[in-house]
Subunit: 300 residues, 2 copies
DNA sequence: CTAGAGATATCATTTCAAATAAAATTTATA
DNA sequence: TATAAATTTTATTTGAAATGATATCTCTAG
């Protein structure tokens, strides 16, 4: 007889025989024919290279190997049952939740939100992937993340976006420097390509005739603010970001014209498909934080 | 599609797909055809009532349910592997060892032996079942115990016996009482029927003309010695038992004629069949304790 | 815009392991 | 010695899993 891989069904048969102390009785309980149970037990013994039962004239009883296997089989089957229960229950709040976000939102809006979520649902591994709005949308469509905070209009038939934050953009510049002067060689510090703020900014610079300017790309808020404070150039950031920054003393803040100043942050997720339970709870948390405001405006 | 029970093979296929992020790649790795893997995954999803993968244009990726199942599947498969390893290894020192013994041996000879065994092999659950020699032999033949300490000649084609202890039997009586007086109505305290000592004793009483006598049966050493001390009657016990007893002051000890006085304790186990590893180690411990004596005499 | 590559899904067919059925064997017991 | 209660063995049937071929989908390159 050749060695057959161990299967759950084989372990169940084994446990039934061990419990009943009889192959026939076990077969009856399992609604199998007795010879089938005999064979399955022999297969197990063959696979393990050891006998699991002593054959007595009336029934069987466990060898020490069988006794050992009993413990394992029970644990294994219990774990399979638990897996079935947990995985098949759509209300299970566990596993992971990966959220995408712009740097700016991650820096100011998300910390309390993520902390609250983690406090409420500690079984869920929270994962934040920062990147430009464009990158986040791509990740969303590729199932790498389940939801994302983005700026700019989202219009994709598989996605749904909700307004969550209204940010006021301000111009930040070094102290003692007229940031609105239409100097040539103006240096502008921005996030890497794809950031909605950057597009916004570039648009304004162009229509207000402040070209040519020099772009310096950064990957983090801290980098931009630090370099502005050091006099390297100017930037555009949400007021909330600048307000909570540690380098406020070394920068000057300037209002922008209405129309340019306002930017909306959206929370985007996949449409139709039944959304994951972890994501559902996350969205509920966002809505709850917004209590007092009108219901979230929903796009698409 | 109907719901199919979860099997190890299904979990292995699932893990391969999760690892590769692709049904085709997983099929290749497992030397299956792609359509087969597709079906097995769908069966799992059907059984669990939830989808495990998002189908992307290139490959698949885990849903949160799939992520949850991953953890379980890995644990389950690891446990199966461990079970295979432990159970199939004949050197595994774990599980249980059930030993049978007479009360007298259990009281005097076994405590240090069992303690030493437990110290050396703490993974093994030691189990001592006391009973008459007759009962122990029956249990041995019924696979309820793996070895037994018995007195009296063992002659059974499936068993093998080794001399382990030479006990000197003594007569114990209340103080101030001539135990050898051939009084009628002599009360004799003995173990329950089947005890080899009792047979020995009854034989001597008969041939030395001390009948009729009255038998009182006990199940424990403590009971017998206590009642002898209280003046209820006499008994026969190994000197080692009496020496280590706590009631020595209230009893008198008397030598018996040679020929009657000596009794051998044997360690009996099943013959031929490859003996269990736990038992093998136990027997080695007995032999080691006997170092200095000649090799154990082996009967049959 | 179309062709092709690279993936999953579907469906008909084959295959082989598991289940059944029935007879042989073993062992205790009446 | 016959009977009963098990297990084992052997031959046969069955059905779930594996295969093979095809359809379908979607991104990419020309």
């Amino acid at each position: 007889m050749i060695s057959v891989p161990i299967e759950i069904s084989g372990l169940k048969i084994f446990l039934a025989v061990a419990k009943k102390g009889s192959i026939s009785k076990a077969a009856e309980e399992l609604h199998y024919v007795q010879s089938n149970v005999t064979i399955r037990i022999k297969q197990l013994e063959e696979t393990l290279g050891t006998s699991l039962f002593y054959r007595k004239s009336r029934g069987v009883c466990l060898t020490n190997s069988g006794y050992l296997l009993c413990d394992y089989a029970e644990k294994i089957i219990a774990m399979v049952r638990e897996a079935e229960k947990v995985v098949s229950n759509p209300e299970t709040t566990a596993g992971q939740l990966v959220i995408g976000s712009m740097e700016t939102t991650a820096a100011t809006r998300l910390p309390p939100l993520l902390a609250e979520y983690h406090r409420s649902y500690p079984q869920v591994d929270l994962n934040l992937v920062t990147g430009t709005s464009e990158e986040s949308l791509k990740r969303l469509l590729d199932y790498q993340i389940e939801g994302a905070f983005v700026a700019g209009v989202v219009s994709h038939k598989e996605l749904i976006a909700e307004k969550v934050y209204e940010e006021e953009l301000v111009l930040v510049a070094p102290i003692n420097n007229d940031p609105f002067a239409k100097r040539a060689g103006l240096k502008v510090l921005v996030f890497r390509a794809g950031c909605a703020y950057r597009a916004h900014l570039e648009n304004w610079l162009r229509i207000s005739g402040r070209v040519p300017y020099k772009i310096i790309e950064f990957g983090s808020i801290e980098g931009i603010l630090g370099c502005v404070a050091a006099g390297m150039g100017i930037s555009f950031l949400p007021r909330s970001v600048v307000d909570s920054s540690r380098v406020q003393e070394n920068i000057s803040i300037h209002n922008l014209p209405t129309g340019i100043a306002n930017m909306t942050t959206w929370f985007v997720r996949r449409k139709n498909e039944k959304q994951g339970h972890n994501l559902k709870l996350f969205r509920e948390l966002i809505v709850r934080e917004d209590t007092g405001k009108e219901d979230l405006a929903i796009i698409q």
